[in-house]
Symmetry: C2
Subunit: 361 residues, 2 copies
């Protein structure tokens, strides 16, 4: 499946295809970029997929260098970004060169930030290896590193030139990571398209069984939905792109108050969806059935909708630090019914507190 | 004089007006941005102009905080950028807030980079206090900090929301800094508009005497020319914006080989113009009169066109590290005649060497 992302001079395509990683060199060459490239990845992913990508680049005539960075969120520091800038300079890369980020969301965020800021912007290609990155993080040009006090505080919008999604690579993910990625898929269905939500529910067994055709169809569908949002609001300047933040306002706060250690991002988003679904119900925006069907699908996919011991005060404080804040007010994306969303600016703090409290078993 | 910069959704205006600094609060308020602001400046500039700006912001209802950074190029480090991000976070600034950079080119570059990367981009206003910054650095959205091995290596394109140019402030500049800024003014005339070049030549005495009407007219004219280039090529994607690099390929290399200490940026650009004028003559692109008139105006404005002891080998090596390099080739902007430019990609290294050698007295 080829998903076009129409953004005028910054347009690009998302290729969702089994085996696509082996074709990255040819597709990159077709863009007419310079012949130097850097592959940013971590040691574990390099062992799994590094050789395929390196061979593909070499066969297409690229001189490429590999920059190994720490695994996971540890890659998103200023120190690692500096290391990358040094390596790019040493390898003689210039503005016509390309950085390829091979890995999960963290590697994409870091590699994208480095690409956005090296010589004021060079070519960037994402090769996402987790479901989370394939359907969400790698599309849309959001790049960032972390500040010691706030995740993703330092970043830039920088659209990729190409996104290569190979559903084959997610078959080797550990079970917990695999399931975590499904939270963003469910999110897309809830706020953007009921028929897609239904499709995910129907395909749940095939998805959990990691059948390639189901993976390609569902992941591709999610990419299509995300692309449609990006096209209409590439830099988060309208309410539309807020839609993709569904489950994330409370989800991020849950992660922040537990040092990003207790839950995976997807698990936190799943809990965030459950809480925000309930919040919509509390303020009379959604009915009980809308809440229940969200929780039911998340549960079927092995994702949490309840938790023990939540630091409710901490979560409420963390919410006020949300990047979406506007002069101190935090907007919530809520779903009045499946396939719809509404941005609500003045949710009473007592309602938010009660919705978070609802999570606790 | 109001100079509009038409860039679609990123359009802004440049206000060139005696006393304009005192009106920054009102003009910022008219943009409808959030009520929090941070003023980035250094101690010396703060003493001269900080109070006027702070009062104007306060009277317009802004809650502002001042972030003091080191003077000159020392502000353009990752450590200083980190300090700014910390301060913004502590002061509770968000994406609707505004950073104002009050100072010369270095402060604008740093403040712009911080604004470009904090929460993936916040509002940015430039309040340039040097001629160099007023006619060149503050317009066009180029932001950057330095890498230990390469100036401006790390940066982003981030257009300001407003540029406030107050010709009054340059009257207090030290003589050397004042004259240095005139090099960019001469550059604009040479590559973009002969009639402006002639106007600068005619107004040279009034300009050197720092007469306000001449300053406003000439600085405003230079802003107009720069804006016309930015409008047609906001992200340096065509040859057009290269035009503004006239004198800079050799100029930057001269600075790099002398640790940015021997010449001011404007002096290095003046020498670069002299060398590149001669390079155009050497390869048969320009006639002798075109070279002579450039050198004559620079000399009348007190800018150098010859130098003693130039490290010619070092300059040639530094040129190959130019950010404009494309897969190893460095393009030169040359002026076939006054008011015109041409980008030449295959200048023989021997000709470049000879042109640099020509500088040596």
């Amino acid at each position: 499946m080829i998903v076009p992302v129409n953004l005028g001079p910054e347009s690009y395509t998302i290729v969702v295809e089994v085996g696509a990683l082996a074709g990255v060199g040819q597709r990159l060459r077709a863009l007419g970029v310079g012949r130097r490239a850097a592959l940013v990845t971590d040691a574990a992913i390099r062992r799994l997929h590094g050789a395929v990508v390196a061979r593909s680049l070499e066969e297409a005539g690229f001189a490429s260098t590999v920059i190994e960075v720490p695994e996971g969120e540890a890659a998103k520091t200023l120190v690692v970004a500096e290391h990358c800038w040094d390596r790019l300079l040493t390898a003689g890369l210039d503005r016509t060169s390309t950085i390829l980020g091979l890995g999960g969301g963290a590697i994409g965020d870091l590699a994208g930030f480095v690409a956005a800021t090296y010589m004021r912007g060079m070519n960037f290609v994402t090769l996402p290896t987790t479901i989370l990155a394939q359907v969400d993080a790698s599309i849309g040009g959001k790049t960032a590193i972390d500040h010691p006090k706030a995740k993703n505080l330092i970043g830039a919008f920088h659209q990729p030139r190409l996104v290569i999604v190979d559903p084959e690579v997610v078959r080797t993910l550990p079970e917990r990571d695999f399931r975590s990625g499904l939270a963003e898929i469910v999110k897309h269905g809830i706020v953007l398209e009921q028929s897609y939500f239904d499709e995910v529910a129907r395909d749940a067994p095939a998805l959990l069984g990691r059948q390639l055709d189901a993976l390609e169809r569902i992941i591709g569908g999610s990419c299509r939905l995300k692309a449609s949002v990006i096209e209409r609001d590439p830099e988060e300047k309208s309410d539309l792109r807020f839609a993709l933040n569904y489950g994330h306002t409370i989800g991020h706060a849950l992660e922040a108050t537990t040092g990003y250690a207790r839950w995976t991002h997807g698990e936190a988003v799943s809990l965030g969806i459950a809480a925000e679904a309930r919040l919509a119900r509390r303020i009379g925006l959604a009915d009980e059935a809308t809440v229940t069907s969200q929780e039911a699908l998340l549960t079927r996919l092995g994702l949490p909708v309840r938790a023990q011991q939540v630091d409710v005060d901490g979560v409420l404080t963390a919410i006020t630090h949300d990047k979406k804040a506007r002069d101190g007010r935090v907007p919530f994306v809520l779903a009045p019914r499946l396939g719809q969303f509404r941005v609500v600016y003045d949710v009473a703090p007592t309602e938010v507190r009660a919705a978070v409290q609802d999570l606790v078993v």
